[in-house]
């Protein structure tokens, strides 16, 4: 059963140096507040997992939290490159970053397998691409048709972190709108941390809602605005101007560090 905890305490208890950590949220409901708390607490040697690493992963990588990145598409959506990710890969700054990359279909299959207790998931893909040489994927043969498909290993993070609109007092969580792989990130992880916009007396059923029972979650943390500068459907819009500004801020190492010091490290709340 989920404990309702302050975010700082939850990150301290759940996220350890060297852990495999997945922060999910497909453009929508990206758990920035939790990611910033991981940065503030100075976690190191993390294996960061995420289908679509974007600005929050650029920040984690640039601040030296990550040893490895498991991903399928890493960019600033609609803007361009992630300069801190590129600097780590291209110039080992602030340290080398190991990559394990998949296609979206492969990552989604890995999460699906992890949530299902299966050791692997399947994709009809990878064949003929150079990805095969640079990632964890193996051909398996269908015993009925002889067709070769690709097996991708289950994703089983130590900690899964997502942001949702609402929790109730018992720690049950509901999110709605675009739900990405958030359910899978929680169910595939050994420990799960969910930040929420608000705690409400009753979670009213809604169209497109994903419900996560409190007994699948380790800690629920109240973090209003915790997805900014991404958005929370029904609460606030995406701060598109921020994503454009990030392109400037993140190009230069010093400017990046100054910005992070001012807006993340020395603050107790997430920048807007």
């Amino acid at each position: 059963m989920a404990e309702i905890l302050p975010l700082g305490e939850a990150v301290r208890e759940l996220v350890h140096d060297g852990d495999v950590v997945a922060l999910e949220g497909f453009t929508h409901l990206i758990p920035y507040a939790a990611g910033h708390e991981v940065i503030r607490q100075g976690r190191r040697d993390l294996t960061l997992v995420r289908m679509t690493p974007d600005v929050v992963y650029d920040q984690l990588i640039g601040m030296g939290c990550a040893r490895k990145l498991v991903f399928s598409w890493g960019g600033n959506p609609g803007v361009g490159s992630l300069h801190r990710l590129r600097d780590a890969v291209e110039h080992d700054w602030p340290g080398p970053l190991e990559l394990e990359e998949h296609s979206h279909a492969g990552m989604a299959a890995g999460y699906w397998a992890g949530a299902s207790g299966f050791p692997f998931g399947i994709v009809r893909g990878y064949d003929g691409t150079d990805l095969v040489e640079h990632t964890r994927v193996e051909p398996i043969t269908c015993p009925f048709t002889g067709e070769r498909v690709a097996a991708v290993p289950a994703i089983r993070p130590d900690v899964g972190i997502v942001h949702a609109q609402q929790a109730d007092e018992a720690g049950n969580v509901q999110l709605w709108g675009i739900s990405g792989v958030q359910k899978e990130a929680v169910l595939s992880s050994r420990r799960a941390l969910v930040t929420v916009e608000e705690v409400v007396p009753v979670l009213e059923p809604r169209p497109t809602a994903v419900f996560l029972p409190g007994w699948t979650i380790t800690a629920v943390c109240l973090a209003p605005g915790g997805a900014r500068p991404s958005y929370a459907h029904g609460y606030y819009d995406r701060d598109n101007a921020f994503y454009l500004r990030w392109d400037e801020v993140s190009r230069d190492r010093d400017r990046f560090r100054e910005w992070m010091a001012e807006h993340v490290v020395e603050r107790e709340v997430s920048p807007v």
Partner: protein, 250 residues
Amino acid sequence: MSVAAPTYTADEMMAVAAARRLQDGTVCFVGIGLPSQAANLARATHAPAAVLIYESGTIGAKPARLPLSIGDGELAETADAVVSVPEIFTYWLQGGRIDVGFLGAAQIDPGGNLNSTVIGDYERPKVRLPGAGGAPEIASWCRETFVMLRQTPRTFVERVDFLTTVGRPRGGGAGVTCVVTDLGLLEPDAETGELVMTELYAEVTADDAQQATGWDLAVAADPRSVEPPTTEELDALRALEPVAGETVVS
């Protein structure tokens, strides 16, 4: 830009050229940027029943303005259904239900193979690109795949630095059937599969196209000339633009 007539940009010409190839009722798998412009333009003009699927899980999205990201709230609000990302890539994409997938790329080779992973060596890249995303399975499992990218000797290369997406995959679809550039359109030769420049925009010559291509480009004997965007097309396209200050950089 030599091809840009005063009244429209190269991007607009590309969006219009791609939109025209979409028939009404076509089910499209769409990314952000030019593909989203093209598909929504088609929906706003000759193909009102075109179905837009975004990889964020929105099926039948009908945005009034162009979404700013692939998971924009507008997409969820206007969609017929919102499903999970694992479901989009299994039941919908690999299930073989999509007519046309759209892709971009940093490099393309004469076989339609795409690179969106790295420029240079994988282990020590000159430029680290975003990576595969949905591209490999889009090209494998949509009935057709349209690629949209600017035509330059750096993007149209004899051999891609990294083969992210196979141009003629063994999947259920035909692979890359059309490449829309800022000079015209290329289509694979029916026998060899090699991309042939089959359509050119107004004022673009075969020689312009060759100059912009890093291999010995095949040009159709009598390449069709593409009509410039009509006023209706441009009006519809511009009406889709996001509000000022929130320009999409594709």
